[in-house]
Each structure stands twice: as C-alpha cells, then as structure tokens.
C-alpha cells in the first residue's frame, strides 16, 4: 500500500454463495489494488483422506448446495478414471441431463436473483430504465423473482426423476446412473423441458431459443435487441449499453474450459484455452500456488495430483483460504463466457473482441447457454433407451489414480484422487471460483477478479459504487466451493 492510498475492507456480500471479503487500496479516486479474501476454511480434502474411494460420492456433493451435482459428476469421473471404466450410453446421457439441469438452473438463478437486483439500487434512480427495473428485479418483491422461483422449482423436478433429489444425489456413479428411466418417465421429462422452454422463450428472451442461439456477434445482438418481443435479456442489454457494461470488469483475457457434456465421440462444449487464439489445454501445466493463502507449503507450487492442504492459523503475506491455481504460471478466467469462447461460439468470440471479458459478456454468455443447452437436453432425452443398461460396476484398484474434469455452471471443476491400499490417500479439488477469485501468487500476479476490480472508480470515504457489485457478481462466485 502506497502512503497516499486508503485501505477499505468490503464485506460481507449478500446474494453470493458463501463468505467473501475484499480489501481495496484506493488512491486518486480509483481502486489501486484489490485483495480477494475467502474468510472460511472447510477442510473437505482433509476429511476425504483415509476414506473408501466410493465414499467420496457421499462427501463431495456436500461441499455445496448449488454446485452439488457438478461435484458429484467430477468425483464420479475421477473414480471412473481410477477404475478404468466408462458408463454405458444411458448412464452417460443421464449424467449429461443431470448436470445440465443444475447448470441451467444456476444460470437462471444468477441472472434473476443474484445479478439483476443490483440495478434496482437507489444509485441508479433517474436512469430511464430504473423504475421498470425496480418493479421487475428488486430482491424478493420484484415481479421477476416471484415468476422465476416457481418456474425454477418446476424445472428442478427433472432432478426428482433423474437423480432422486437435488441437491446431494447418489445417482451419479462412476459406472452410470442408479436411476433407470422408463418410457413414460422420459415423456414426463420432455414435458418439464417443454414447460421450461416456454418460460425462457416468453419471459427471458421474448424469442425462440434457436433465434437466440444463432446470434453471431455484437452487431447482430443489437439488431435482435431492436426487434419487438420484450423479455428480460432485452431489458438487460438496454442497461448494459447505458452503463457501458461492455467495458467494465476486464479480467485476464485468458479463457479456460475443461469441456463438458460427453456425446458419442466428442463433447458438446470442448476443452481448451483461448488467449487471442485457440490452443490445447495442458492439464499437466496446472498447479496451485499458496504463497498468499493460509497453508503450509513444501515450497514450490504443486500440481493437484500431488498437492497438499495443510491449513495454518498465521502466515506472513497470506490473506485468503483460497489457493491460487495457475495454468502454466498464468491466471485464467473460467465460466460460461470462457466455455463459449473456447467452444468457438461466434457471439462469445465477438463479445471479447477488442475489449476482452466484461460484465455484459459474462452475463450474456450465461443466457446464451440456456438457449444452447436446452435443445441438447431435448435431444439427449430422445436418445435414452429403456431396457438397455444404465450402470456398470467395477472394483477400484488398491493402488490407482484418477482425474475428473467437468464444467460446472461457474466454470472448470477438477478432482484429482490418489488411492493407496484401497483408501483415499490424497484428494485435491480445484473449483471454478478458486480460479476466478484466487489471491496473488509468488510472482505477485493478482487473480482474475483482483485484476477486474483494479482501476474502477472508488471513494475512500463515500459509499462504494454499484459497479463493484456488478463486477464481483458477473463471475457468479461460489465461495463455499472455493474453500472446500
């Protein structure tokens, strides 16, 4: 901290899953430096040590009440990798459907309940859209939350049939699904998807999903927005233009995706890295730096397959329980925007062209995924074959390793397991928000959010501008996963 700057500690944040605190150094009316702190340690990686490998399927979903299936799916993949098995087709499709249901519900929740209510703040009184935004999006009392919550609950009935319940299912297994579906049940799932499609097309988009899915750039998005049809995305786009949210919250411009939704011979969204151009993802180049996190270190950053988690109460220079994962030493951003940029969606690529990641691009990418994934879910349902196998079993070897990489709503989630003498010897997890909200590393590189906040206007004494909330929430953080 330079002598002219003032330090402010901001927190707790509401409408964020879990605990978050941000320390801001403010100088000359701007944020000179931001330090993102996760003030909670939970210890799941220590709890998992010594357990039977299959018990991970009970423990890891309980890391989080909103990313529960994502944790299950990553664990099931790691265990399948360790056992050298792959689920039969029905099991693979059921896993896709279960994960997609959670991911889409999370996108909906983020937009309507976590993100949009910030535009109903009194800060914006006087903007042409403010009165309508208060009526529509104000937390708990707006017309949107009261319309969205029943639609979301109805959509989540997918989980009752696919997974028994949500959150914390055990239906997602390394060898497939424990829940065989009969044809009448598949019809009921079709009905639920049709109802959700209807909701999205009338309420969220004011357009058919396929019309949204083919928007190929910012210019086409503007043309689409000018068309009649209403819908909450158009309302957001008007706000984004007025507040210039396309130039707010630029991060690292390095976008990573592990890829997800396995199909016959590919993934619906592929794995990769984007930094001005596409490149392959080198999983071996991931390591976790703990220079500024409260963990005891062997010294150098560790690859998660051989990583450790040893909390310490005090440590010089540490300010978070979040480790700092890096890819080949670089900070990356992960999430729906990264996933679609890596997948090569033309709108996603165009949204970051020139001015990089932004609050608006992250929000639009989430809604774009609603339009892209729901039709895939409809297709997967038609590909299910009652009477064919749903689950296979295979014992886990006494000495083995496994990796499970998937995409949660919030981005790349990885589990690394080592089994020795039939028990879990080591289990390391890197969650999406661990990437996005990481602290600095040994080289002093700030994490993605820390970079996105630097330079924003802020006062040392007055209430902080809403823009800070927009940037923080544009990443859709899940802090309880971060500090598993």
């Amino acid at each position: 901290m330079s002598p002219e700057s003032t330090r402010r500690i901001v927190g707790p944040f509401n409408r964020v899953e879990g605990d978050l605190e941000i320390t801001l150094d403010i100088a000359e009316g701007r944020i000179a430096a931001a330090y993102v702190n996760s003030p909670l340690y939970r210890g799941f990686e220590q709890i998992l040590q010594g357990k039977m490998p299959a018990d991970a399927l009970v423990l890891v979903p309980r890391i989080c009440g909103i990313c529960s299936v994502a944790q299950s799916a990553a664990s099931a993949l790691a265990l399948a990798d360790a056992a050298g098995i792959e689920p039969p087709k029905n099991g693979r499709l059921a896993a896709n459907l279960t994960l997609a249901t959670e991911n889409l519900a999370d996108h909906l929740t983020h937009f309507y309940l976590f993100f949009m209510p910030d535009f109903a703040r009194a800060d914006y009184a006087g903007r042409p859209w403010h009165a309508a935004t208060v009526e529509r999006f104000r937390a708990t009392v707006g017309s949107a939350p009261n319309q969205v919550l029943p639609a979301r609950a109805r959509f989540m009935q997918m989980m009752g049939l696919l997974a028994g319940k949500w959150p914390h299912t055990l239906a997602v297994q390394p060898g497939g699904s424990t829940r065989p579906l009969q044809s009448s049940e598949i019809f009921r799932l079709h009905r639920t998807l049709r109802e959700f499609r209807e909701f999205l097309e009338t309420v969220t988009f004011g357009a058919r999903l396929d019309e949204v899915a083919v928007i190929a750039g910012r210019a086409q998005l503007d043309v689409w927005r000018a068309r009649p049809g209403g819908g909450d995305l158009r309302a957001f786009l008007a706000i984004a233009e007025d507040l210039d949210l396309w130039h707010l919250g630029r991060g690292t411009d390095r976008f990573m995706s592990y890829g997800c939704y396995r199909e016959e011979d590919r993934r619906l969204f592929p794995a990769g890295l984007w930094h001005g151009a596409a490149s392959a993802l080198d999983i071996a180049a991931i390591d976790e730096d703990i220079t500024h996190a409260w963990y005891a270190a062997a010294g150098l950053p560790q690859h998660p397959a051989t990583g450790s988690t040893l909390p310490v109460a005090e440590k010089d220079g540490a300010y978070s329980w979040c480790k700092a994962p890096r890819l080949a030493g670089q900070v990356v951003e992960t999430g729906a925007l990264a996933r679609q940029v890596v997948a090569g969606h033309p709108l996603a690529r165009d949204m970051i062209e020139g001015h990089g990641g932004s609050v608006a691009a992250r929000v639009v990418a989430r809604l774009l995924e609603l339009a892209l994934v729901l039709p895939a879910m409809e297709r997967w349902l038609t590909e299910l074959s009652p009477g064919e196998p749903w689950c296979i079993t295979a014992p886990t070897a006494e000495e083995t390793l496994g990796v499970g990489l998937i995409e949660a709503a919030r981005g790349s989630l990885g589990h690394w397991i080592t089994v020795r003498r039939g028990r879990i010897h080591n289990y390391q997890i890197i969650a999406p928000t661990t990437w996005n909200f990481s602290p600095r590393d040994a080289a002093g590189q700030p994490g993605a959010l820390e970079q996105a906040l630097a330079g924003l206007p802020a006062s040392a004494t007055k209430a902080l501008p809403a823009a800070i909330h927009h940037v923080v929430r544009s990443f859709d953080p899940c802090m309880v996963c971060t500090v598993h």
Binding site: I9, V10, G11, P12, F13, N14, D19, L20, E21, N37, P39, L40, Y41, R42, G43, Q46, I47, L48, Q49, G50, K51, M52, A54, D55, L57, V58, L59, R62, M156, Q157, M158, M159, G160, L161, A163, G164, K165, W166, P167, H168, T169, L170, A171, Q173, G175, G176, S177, T178, R179, P180, Q182, P311, A313, P386, P389, W390, C391, T393, A463, L464
Partner: protein, 283 residues
Amino acid sequence: MDEARDLIDQCVSGATAVDVLCIEGSLLRGPRGTGGFHRFGGGAKPMIEWVRQIAARARHVVAIGSCSSWGGITAAGINPTDACGLQYDGEAGGGLLGPDFRDPGGLPVINVAGCPPHPDWITETLAALAHGSLRAEHLDDYGRPRFFADQLVHHGCPRNEYYEFKASAHKPSDQGCLMEQLGCKGTQAHADCNQRLWNGEGSCLRGGYACIRCTDPGFEEPGHAFSTTPKIAGIPLGLPSDMPKAWFIALAALSKSATPARVRENATADHMLRAPSVKRTKK
C-alpha cells in the same frame, strides 16, 4: 456490504429485533478454539462469536440442516475445523450454545436436520413458529420437529414389496431392496422422504440409492462404506427400528423362502422383467 454489517450490528445490540435466527453450516471452533477458520467478512470477529451474540437476542434459534444441528459432514474424518452444531456435538448435547440453551419462550434450538433438509421442513417449521404454535412437545429427543422426524424413510418406500421378501438389489440401478447389500438405512432413519417426496416425485430410494440416515447425528461416520451394508454372519447390523433381532432373522428367512419368482428376478434387473400376473374373476 456496509448495509448488511449495519443490520447485523443492530441485531447484536438489540436495536433490531430478531424473530428467528436461522443458521446453516457447522459452527467452526478451530483452530484451537479461536473460531478463526470462519470469520464473517468485513471484520476480525469469528462467525461463532456473532452466532453466540445474536442467539442470545433471538426469539427462536433454528438449525437448518445437519451441519448446524450436530456438525454433520464437516465434522467427518479428522474434523479438521473442530466443527459442531448449535446445541449438539454429534449425539452429545452441548455444541456451540451448550445443552442448557433455551430461547425466551423456553424452546431449545430447533433442529431441522437433514443433508439437505427438505425445503418443506424448513418452511413448515418457520410457519409454525410464526403462527406461535410450535411447542416443546412438538420436538423429538434431538430437537427435531416431530412432523417429519416421527416418520421413517421406510414409510412409503416404493421398494416395499422387495423389502417384504428380502429380494435385494446387488448393484446400483437394480430395482430390489437396498437394505441387505447396498447400505440403506431407511428402516431406521427419521424422515418422511418417501411420503413427502423431493423435486416432484423423487427420494433417495426412488433415485435408486441408499438412505444414509442424514437426519441423524453422526450419520457422517457410519463406521463402514456408505453404500455397503455391514453384516455379521450374514445379518445386517442395522435392523429396522423397534424390531427384535430374533424376529427379524426368523421373518427374513421365512420371506426369502416365499419370494415369488417375479419379485426375485425383477430385484436384480434395471427394468421390469416380469409383470404381476393378471387374474380374471369370471371364468
């Protein structure tokens, strides 16, 4: 942010009345009793200190889920964060607030246990408190609302015919009873999951996997792999609630010998191989 901090400060000082303090998540006492593993954002004070102070002011205190009830999953393994519940530490009374804690109306902490608790359990408990109709006799020995805790998960289980005949599933996705091989504790678990149902028409059993007794203290450390039934001499260790062991053994042997072929074959398949036969009453 600042608004949230101001409001919570007012709850501690008593300037803002707290009708119900709902706590989700274990209370983390570590490291070494400092509570430093969980600070509330924006200050140095640990979460357990905030909870102690606001609990002393609140009209009612409700634990939402098994973590804040007894410690839960966070207390599993080596319990690295020294996690406990509000008024229980596993099965032992105590926890953060102590065994003698009572709210101003004389109620202990109300434990809406479960991992997760059914959303209706939460809303119906809060509704009963708002209505002023929840009294001490409506809570069971562990402080759980009896409207759900006086039921067993077994009640309404769609695998009941398989249970009756001890026609057991052997692997995930089999249709048979999960008690004998796959770790199911539904006959002992206190909850109404198979009557109330989850996400429309679901439950653990309907989803094809074992009940792990998640509403009970200590469920996180069953002493065996969660999805495998521990047995001695072929007899499951966890017998159905209130059932004498000798009778269970006798009935199981009898029912196994009487299992219809339809039930036996369907039990180890992932779809129905044999339908119940159709009887004609007129010849």
